[in-house]
Structures are given as structure tokens and as C-alpha cells.
Symmetry: C2
Subunit: 336 residues, 2 copies
């Protein structure tokens, strides 16, 4: 675990100043909202300690190392993927109506929809600018990788919104949605450092494949935490995703593979009236009984194993591979 925390902490320490430098290009309003969103200041602009896990930047720096380059080569990529991630959080929180993120009120809930939209837009555009500051074919390849990942991420979010509105979502569709929404950017994060380092195709593809698997594992664990996560740790209410009747991966598995229990769960999800506490608790039991929780955690481990094999095939050096795998283990064993 120490190794993991090291690479995450190193990521934060190296990348945070670079993100701040990038944010200096924004207008003062967007910048101060971004600072609040990142957890660096309170609503009045006073410094606070906080911030996300910064998994994506850590991956991007390790990705450069995986290609034999110093981590600094991956730095523009690390900044860019974290900016794109936070663009998507700002817009998603608004679309999902989520009022809390990282134990604090979300931007739209305290500053209004326009602030969340515009600050998100600014971060997305800034991400490209950061990569395009670099010159030459590696910078353009990295910018292209990020633009493609962003389109995939948006495609995933479009599916997520659509699934909220319809019944009968299949498990494959749900996995495809997660591959877009979460897998694409983690895949790009794991590959972008190697792209910036001019690594051979096989290395880049191996890292991208590892990141995509990691992304699925991440989402599977996230969905389990969205139901059974400890509120004090996650900062979300108990059974949060069921409260919102979210068709997450464990729920979809239980519905499609859970026989009679699955049908009972499907009927509860499709009901019109607002769910009551007893109903929510019962729904969580149904997901569990139908095997959704077990499947999600097993599937997360299967994805991790697949990702590990891709790293091995790509002949990533042992030290970096171990750090990437520690990060992956941290992701599937985390509690928030």
C-alpha cells in the first residue's frame, strides 16, 4: 500500500502546481470556481486542504516512465487528463443534480448552473491548450488521444443519461457505457505519458488496454461503493445510488441474471413513486441476493488480471509495472 500512496502523493505534488499554472490562463471567475471545485479553496477563496485522489495524473506520469522517459515528460498529459476529468465532474454533477462532491457542496448547487457549465467548458478547452503547448508529433498525438477519449467519455455519459430514462438495459450495454464513461479517460491517462515519450505502438497499446481494464474495475468498485459504501468515508448517503434508482453495473447484473429476485428488483426500480427507506434497504438486499455485489467485485478482479497481462505483454519494466499494479490494487480495494 505504501508504494501506491507514494505514487499518488508524488502525482499530486508534481501535478498540482502545474494544474495551478494552467488555471492561471483562465479568467478570474472561472479560475476561482475551479480552485473551489478542486478542493483548494473554500467559497470565499481561503485556502483549504483537500482535493481528489488524482489517480489519472499518477497514471500519466507512470506512463511516461513505462516508456523509459522521466515522469516530467508525462506532465502535460497528467495535467490535461485531470482537467478533462474535472470538466466531466462539473457537468455531470449538474446533470445528475448531485449536491455534494468530496464532502463539499457542488459548484452548480452554490454558484448556479451557468458557473458549472462555463467552468467545465473552460477546463475542457484548457486541457487541449496544455497539450498543444508542446510541439512536434508527440504533442499532436497526445492531443488527438485526449480528444478521442473525451468523445468516448461524452458518449458514455450520453448513454448513462439515456439509461436513466428507460427500462430493460442489458448488461453489455451497461458495460459499454462504463467503458466510455470511465474506461476511456483512464485508458488515455495510462497511455498519454508513453505517447508524449514517443514510445512504440505496442507499449502504448498495452498501457491503453491496461487503463481501459482498470477503468472498468474502477467503475465496478465505484458502483458497489455507491450502494454499500460507508457514508462517513464516501461522503454520500447510505444506498445513495439506489436512492436515485441508478441502473449501475451490480443492479443491472442482478436484474438480468437474478431470475425471480432480479424481476422483483426491476419492478421496484420501474415504480413511479419516490422510494421509501424500507424499500431502498430491501432493494439493496435484492441486489446482494441476486449476486450483483459478488459479481461486480469478482469482475473487477478479473478486469485487473486482464490488465496485468496486457502490461506484461507490453514489456513494461518491472518497477513501473509494480507501481501501476499497486495503483490498480488501491483502486479495487478503496473505500471511497
Amino acid at each position: 500500500m505504501t508504494v501506491v500512496l507514494d505514487s499518488l502523493q508524488q502525482g499530486r505534488q508534481t501535478v498540482q502546481p502545474a494544474i495551478r499554472e494552467a488555471l492561471d490562463r483562465l479568467d478570474p471567475t472561472s479560475r476561482s470556481i475551479a480552485y473551489y471545485h478542486f478542493g483548494w479553496t473554500d467559497l470565499d477563496g481561503n485556502p483549504t486542504s483537500g482535493g481528489g485522489k488524482a489517480i489519472r495524473p499518477a497514471l500519466a506520469l507512470l506512463s511516461a516512465e513505462a516508456a523509459g522517459a522521466p515522469p516530467s515528460v508525462g506532465l502535460p498529459g497528467a495535467v490535461a487528463v485531470e482537467l478533462v476529468h474535472n470538466f466531466s465532474l462539473l457537468h455531470d454533477d449538474l446533470m445528475d443534480g448531485d449536491t455534494e462532491r468530496r464532502h463539499r457542496p457542488t459548484v452548480w448547487s452554490v454558484r448556479g448552473a451557468a458557473s458549472a457549465i462555463l467552468t467545465g467548458d473552460a477546463l475542457l478547452s484548457l486541457a487541449q491548450e496544455v497539450l498543444l503547448d508542446g510541439d512536434g508529433p508527440c504533442a499532436i498525438a497526445a492531443a488527438r488521444l485526449l480528444a478521442e477519449a473525451t468523445n468516448e467519455l461524452i458518449r458514455g455519459q450520453v448513454l448513462d443519461v439515456a439509461f436513466e430514462r428507460r427500462n430493460g438495459v442489458g448488461l453489455d450495454e451497461c458495460l459499454d457505457m462504463a467503458a466510455g464513461k470511465t474506461g476511456a479517460l483512464l485508458s488515455a491517462s495510462a497511455a498519454i505519458g508513453a505517447v508524449l515519450a514517443g514510445a512504440p505502438r505496442a507499449t502504448i497499446d498495452g498501457l491503453a488496454g491496461f487503463g481501459a481494464d482498470l477503468g472498468l474495475a474502477f467503475q465496478l468498485v465505484d458502483d458497489v461503493l455507491g450502494i454499500w459504501g460507508e457514508p462517513a468515508v464516501t461522503g454520500k448517503p447510505v444506498y445513495s445510488d439506489l436512492r436515485a434508482r441508478k441502473k449501475s453495473l451490480p443492479v443491472t447484473y442482478s436484474i438480468t441474471h437474478g431470475g425471480a429476485i432480479g424481476r422483483e428488483l426491476a419492478a421496484w426500480l420501474a415504480a413511479g413513486e419516490p422510494p421509501d427507506e424500507a424499500g431502498i434497504r430491501h432493494a439493496a438486499e435484492l441486489v446482494d441476493q441476486a449476486g450483483g455485489r459478488r459479481w461486480a467485485l469478482d469482475e473487477a478482479h478479473r478486469r485487473m488480471a486482464a490488465g496485468r497481462r496486457k502490461l506484461e505483454d507490453a514489456e513494461v519494466g518491472e518497477r513501473v509495472r509494480e507501481e501501476l499494479l499497486s495503483l490498480a490494487r488501491f483502486i479495487v480495494t478503496r473505500e471511497a
Copy 2:
């Protein structure tokens, strides 16, 4: 006028298929919403005739010609600027609560906020992808130009939102806001073809300067149409911007330069209760009496003259210069 319509029509004819091709990369939902937004289909996906003026793509194609290249060299730029423009329309309509655009219901008003946000996001990301398909230093320079213009555009929109909420907005601030919101992307449109053609710095700067002036002229005329435009032509209600108590350029001029009449107008704008028809009509008269309408139209012509000088200094060939100036004349004499 014929020349103008030719270059606009040529722009539409060349660029529309290329935009369609770019949109093919999007997920089907975002693509069909984009088709509706562009005016190509109705809500059920049936083809319709319609679409915007496509001023920005026409500029981008002429920009390549200004650098001595065939218009096709500017095509990726033409597609990209139109995508960024439409990203901003999708988000702005939502933030401003506008229910009509180009005589049709806006996307957010018929498909919901999430659709407008996500389709806008997708177009922004796609714009960068289109440019990054090209290789080499010109493509990266064009992508950088577009990312910078997008940040400026967002900065302008942030100011616009902020101005709505406060009184005492100065004319310089208002012009700065318009330079960001409208000037930046028109400037990039006028320069991006030359950038893609690898033109010398002086040509690029001259075209960018012309585009920035054109942008201000465009916004000044837009603001006049926003008050006195013919509803049947603009597709907006009479006195539309005053109805929304918008601190547009003519209004801000009248308040800051209109003495006692300006103070009466400022008091009306600051009032809390919803404006009634008589009040709105009276406010329009005040803007007129205080010289705001006259100033805006004169200033638009001054900006155009400044832009023309920049084109002359940049030694853009006569035929292309005349086409660019015809486009500029169309912009300041248009009725919608």
C-alpha cells in the same frame, strides 16, 4: 451583395458535407441532436431546409485563399470554427433560458438541459479532433489558435453572465466582453485558413485583426437587432433584449454617455419588478434618445474601416480582400 451571398453559399455547400462527416464520429444521440440544432432535421429526424448563416466557415475558407492556398486547405478550420460556434450556442441558449433559435425551439427546451450540455461538449471536443486529423506544425498551430479562441469565448460568456447580475457596467468592460464572446472566434475564423496554409505571421495577424474588428461590428449590429430587429425576420420578439433587461452595447453606451436620459434608463434596468410593455417601449426610446443606437451603428462602421485597413496592411490579394469586405458589409447591413 451577390458576391457576399456567393461566398456564404459556397461556404455552406463546401462545409456542410464536411461537418456531417465529422458528426458521424459522434454517438447517434448526440449526432441526431446536432442535426436538429444545425437545422438539418426536425425533431423526428426528417430532413428540413435551414441552418445558420455560416459566416465563420466562409471566413475560414477565404482565409486560406488570402494566404494563396486553395479554399480546401482551410476546410478543417472551417468545420472546426463552426463546431465551436455551435457548441457555444447550445450552452448559451440553456444558460440564457432562450427557447427559440433560428425560428425553432432550442435543444434544451425540447430535449432537456443534459442534451444541450452533452451535445455542446461533444461538438467542442470534436472541433479539436477535426483539426488534429491533420498532421504537422500547421495543424497544431491551428488547433492552438482554436483552443485559445475558445478560452476567450468562454471568458466573454463568463463576463456576460456576471454583467447580467450587476449594475454599473462600464462601456470598456462591455466592449471587452464582446471582444471575447464574439470577436475571438471571428478572429480565429478569419485567421485559421492562413494558419493551415502556413502563411507568414504578418498575414495571419492582419487577418486575425480584421476578424476581431468584424466580430465587434457583428456584435454591435446584433445588439441593435436585439432591440429594434423585425420579429418576423429575426425570429425573436420585438425589443427582445430589453425584455430580458440585457446590458447590451447600445444600452451600456446610453447609460454611460446619456446624461439624465441614461440615468433614467439605468434606473429602469435596475428595477426589480418584471417589465411591462409600455416600460419596454419607453426604454427603447430612451436608448435611442441617449444616442445608443446611433453610436452602435457608427461604431460598427468604424470597426469595419479599421478591419479594412488591417487587410490592406497585410497585403491580402485584391479579389480575396473584396470578398472578405463584402462579407463584412453583409454582416453590418443584415436584418437578422
